[in-house]
């Protein structure tokens, strides 16, 4: 079993209104980059050492102690570093990503944003929820809803995404693929 430290981290104090506003604007901008398929800008918002993690979740009884949300040695939709995210995104630039042409229509809605300080003065713990709607061709549509736990780090004055754990609130992915980012 292997659990990254940031997932277990708990924040110290609620951040200032100014900081909360700054983080919110970063999250909304990030969502707009994803809606626009502007993946170059999106990945530019990440740190070099990003961990982008979305575990697969089995349905298990409450008493079951399997650490499904945190153990990165189990199956996951995403368990990526920057290079791996980059490779996935390269697919869209080849001109032969058939299941993305005609283009998919995306809308990322971000809410329930909380910002907390951490022991590292340059890093903030950020919680949020997402609703991602995608629709393509005639009436092919998915609504993907879940929660995120992030670490945002200030580098050269700019907030960058350093860690993200995404928990989709589905057991069976009710969709034919996961060609979508959160």
């Amino acid at each position: 079993m292997s659990i990254p430290a940031y997932i277990l981290e708990t924040g110290n104090a609620v951040a200032s209104l100014e900081l909360i506003s700054e983080v919110e604007q970063r999250l909304y901008r990030e969502a707009r980059m994803l809606d626009d398929e502007n993946y170059k800008e999106w990945t530019a918002m990440m740190t070099e050492d990003i961990h982008y993690f979305m575990p697969g979740i089995e349905t298990r009884y409450r008493k079951d102690r399997t650490d499904q949300l945190n153990d990165t040695s189990r199956m996951a939709f995403y368990n990526d570093n920057l290079e791996e995210i980059g490779k996935r995104l390269l697919r869209l630039e080849t001109g032969t990503a058939w299941s993305e042409d005609p283009a998919t229509r995306y809308c990322h809605i971000i809410s329930n944003i909380e910002v907390e300080t951490t022991d590292n003065p340059e890093e903030y713990l950020v919680y949020s929820n997402f609703l991602v709607y995608r629709n393509r061709l005639e009436r092919d549509e998915d609504t993907l809803i879940g929660s995120r736990k992030d670490i945002w780090r200030r580098e050269d004055g700019v907030l960058k995404l350093a860690k993200r754990r995404i928990v989709l609130k589905q057991n069976v992915l009710i969709s034919k693929n996961m060609n979508v980012y959160f």
Binding site: R60, T66, M75, F77, R91, N177, N179
Partner: protein
Amino acid sequence: MPIHNINGPRPDYSRYMDIDKGWIDRRIFAEQSIYEQELYQIFARCWLFLAHDSQIPNPGDFITTHMGEDNVIIVRQKDNSVKAFLNSCPHRGNKVCFADAGNARQFVCNYHGWSFDNEGSLKGMHEEYCYDEGDIDKSEWGLKPVAQIDSYKGLIFATFDETAPSLETYLGDFRWYLDALLDNEEGGTEFVGGTIKSMIGANWKFGVENFIGDAYHAGWTHNSGCRAMNNGEPFPPVDMQNSYHASVNGHGWEFGMEGVGDIFLLGRPKVMEYYDRIRPQMEKRLGAVRSKIFGSVASASIFPNVSFLPGIHTFRTWNPKGPFELELKTWVIVNKEMAEEIKDDITKGVMCTFGPGGAFEMDDGENWENCTSVNRGVVTRQEKLHYACGINRKIDQPDMPGIVYRGQYNDSNQRLFYQRWADMMNAPTWDDVPNRYQSRLNGRSTRDIPTMKKV
């Protein structure tokens, strides 16, 4: 007890195809009545994959899955054997287990509190005093077990049909090929933790036939995935002289002989190094031919609905959910002896390439959905589909069992899959199911004869 088929006399399903000319009638992908017949004739009779041994290592460990549309619980017993039974209370039919996996001493129905031990026996009921003497014989009202359960090198299979041949006979000479995946290193295989499931709006057979023989689609469908994962390089051309389709009664494996293609597509240099290192032992263990089959650009399916990619380490079932929908269940299969670092690397590689988020697989679902949905049109549905690629390339290959065709780009495994499909759909009993190949193993162990000799 045979499974009672309420649909009455069966039509001749061979009329939905011509294997010698190479076409398939699209109605087998669309008609509800044909789908219902598949559940009875194929899924209620064939050996179906339930679990890997490693998913339920300890007594009381269970997983739930589907055999056809029947939900079943698979439980490790105290004596280390495995039992499987319907996940349905015999009182009013409610499920008795609602988890995908876990550990349990008993299964209790939420409706009236009937409880069953993990052998499936009825142990007690809530407020049992309401039953008078003679109302119920508890020994007769347990969870219904499968008719037969057995395993092959870590893979647990079961059938609802007590008249089905043994698992060994059912897999037949395909075991010789399966060993290239399951027995290429001391210690065998295991599944990585977790299961990823997704829904595809496609007929279940499109997934199976893609993996059983459709190397042809890879270079086109997966051009983007291949170039993304491999520094802009498209799929290399296949060697049509030295690549093959092999079919054993509807099971099929298509493969090259270069030994590295699928491992390369995984995109993990450490994993490639690992296999380079164990290749000499693999050759001693499996013989020269199979040690080249493993790792090559290859894909395979076990009839009716299991598929895997040997060097890419994805393993899956295509579970039927009506003619127009399937549930895909995927796992990652690794060798037990591998260091954790290699297992983690493979798991990351599989998730980047195959499974719903994989750069390769994400272009498959949409193809199969549209191959399926067009047949909602009653005119389209009556058109044939072309399956004649390589129809004259059958060869007698002394060192490979099964029915072998030359050239990896070929429809032969697909044709023979549909022939088996029609055989199962037509046959009233297992005695009526024709054997379509000549066995070379003839009951011998696959380990004893790494190299096949001509019969």
